[in-house]
Amino acid sequence: MRKYILQRSLAIVPLLLGISFFAFFLINIGPSDPAEVALRVNETVATKEAIASMRMELGLDKPFFARYGTWLTASLQGDFGKSYITKRPVFDEMSKAFPATLALAGISLLITICISFFVGVWCAVHEGSIGDKIVRGFIFIGTAMPSFWVGLLFMWLFAVKLNLFPTSGMDGFQSIILPAVTLSLTYICTYMRLIRNAMIQNQQENYVLYARVRGLKERTITKHIFKNSLQESLIALGMSIPKLIAGTVVVENIFAWPGLGRLCITAIFNRDFPIIQAYIVMMAVLFIVCNLLMDIICAFLNPRIRQGG
């Protein structure tokens, strides 16, 4: 087991390097010169001399790989440079917005897990019943509805019409409910379907047939099936945690939630490159680490994987 974890952890190092290189490369192939952008956003006239001195200040006059090296070592120490707009360190801006996004994503994840596991298992057990059919209809509508539309409809119904929740902003526990429900809706649909289908497929395996022949109770058999279907769902869940955090972009913008997604979109409009870069690297690292954790959890659950790996 220890060998497996070590192997997997070492395997992500080249991947992390590749991603950091990619994020750095993207800024440099962009059509606009970062030095010019840095001047423009502060409403300084971009004369040739000003651009030249800004290039010196940002270190843009050095060769590409030398700059990459400097940037990488600084990033590893948590120094992502300064925002062009506020002139504050990017790290401070990010850590100020991070808790809001984490709270939103965390509550959405909780809602997603609770509802999708419960309903998914119920549907698999009662496959073909009216309830199952209603849920399947709901799943199809849910996956086709864009989250920004759902968000607007929720906002209109619960905030404007019924006046139950605030329309936007972060102000107490009540304000997180609408964004969290909106965010989790797509994922609920995906997972309900995943768990339901995984369980139905498992019902046709030989071990279920054997359990029935032995005369075990339906409840016990369902428990067996559930455990065996869990692995697939766990992997998907691990993959989607960073997706959930990336998905907060749209929801945060609708509900004016002061998190990372809103920070990133504002940065895109302001051409504030250091923030965009830091956001991308952070999300990518999060994605890889989550995948690694899920691989390890699955190896704990299923001995076949760790012996093969």
Binding site: I19, A23, F140, F148, W149, Q204, V213, I265, R271
Partner: protein, 281 residues
């Protein structure tokens, strides 16, 4: 039964194909069908309710909502299909080259794909739009860049299946050039599978493009686009909530049609998938 017969016998699939074709035709012939100019503001009739002249009413600038939804097809659905086409084209080129040549070229292309796919595609799109700046062309480029690697990988594995067949070997022995074999013998073999893969993803592309426009990163005002229209409707939500309905329903119907069709195609391809094994109860 072959694939097409199975697909035809699936009523839902036929309905979805009908909806998609109908929407496409409406989009292509929008200039003929639309009752008004979608860009022409007319402040005298702003927020008009449903009437014969304005079947879906008018928006905050007095523009005909029906005309805007119809023209929006061009900017949403047609654009998504074009995006899909280019993505497939690039993916197919790299996939076929990788699958056919093997060795170092294959290794290089696949490692590049690995790095690209280690990003979630939503993040990749945001990264590229962030670097290039907001705009329709950049949103399309971002979508293509985020997805081609996935197709390259899928198409490579399809090509690997064909590459060992006797007719390819025969072509090699008889001295056909590599490009001739790839274009004339391998591409036709995999093209059907590629189209199926694409159908599964088109709904997703429509959602992404309209989400980008909603955030202001894609299509810019006053161009009629469904995500853009919803973004405008958001500002007048408290007074005129009905403005949110036409573009939202339009997106939902089209995306649902593509999703259903994708499922039906998958079932038609693997009929075994649906038939349960013998279950003793």
């Amino acid at each position: 039964m072959n694939f097409w017969q199975r697909l035809k016998s699936d009523r839902l699939a036929v309905l979805c194909i009908g909806i998609i074709l109908g929407v496409l035709l409406l989009g292509i012939f929008a200039p003929l069908i639309a009752p008004h100019d979608p860009l022409q503001p007319n402040l005298k009739v702003k927020f008009a309710s449903n009437s014969l002249e304005y079947p879906l009413g008018t928006d905050q600038l007095g523009r005909c909502v029906l005309s805007r939804v119809l023209y929006g097809i061009q900017n949403t659905v047609v654009l998504a299909l074009i995006t899909m086409g280019v993505t497939l084209f690039i993916g197919a080129i790299f996939g076929i080259i990788a699958g056919f040549s093997r060795g170092k070229v294959d290794e290089g292309i696949m490692r590049l794909c690995d790095v690209l796919l280690s990003f979630p595609s939503e993040l990749m799109i945001l990264a590229i739009v962030g670097m290039l700046g907001p705009g329709l062309a950049n949103a399309v480029i971002a979508n293509i860049a985020a997805k081609w690697a996935w197709y390259a990988r899928m198409i490579r594995s399809l090509v690997m299946e064909y590459a060992d067949k006797n007719y390819i070997r025969f072509a090699k022995v008889s001295g056909c050039s590599a490009s001739h074999i790839m274009g004339k013998h391998l591409l036709p073999g995999v093209v059907g599978d590629i189209i199926v893969l694409a159908t599964l993803d088109t709904g997703w592309v429509i959602l992404t493009i309209s989400a980008l426009s909603f955030l202001g990163l894609g299509v810019q005002a006053p161009t009629p686009e469904w995500g853009m229209m919803l973004s405008e409707a958001k500002n007048i939500m408290t007074t005129h909530p009905a403005q949110m309905l036409p573009p939202g329903i339009a997106i939902m119907v089209v995306v649902a049609a593509f999703n259903f069709l994708g499922d039906s195609i998958q079932n038609a391809l693997n009929p075994k998938h649906n038939q349960p094994k013998a279950v003793v109860k």
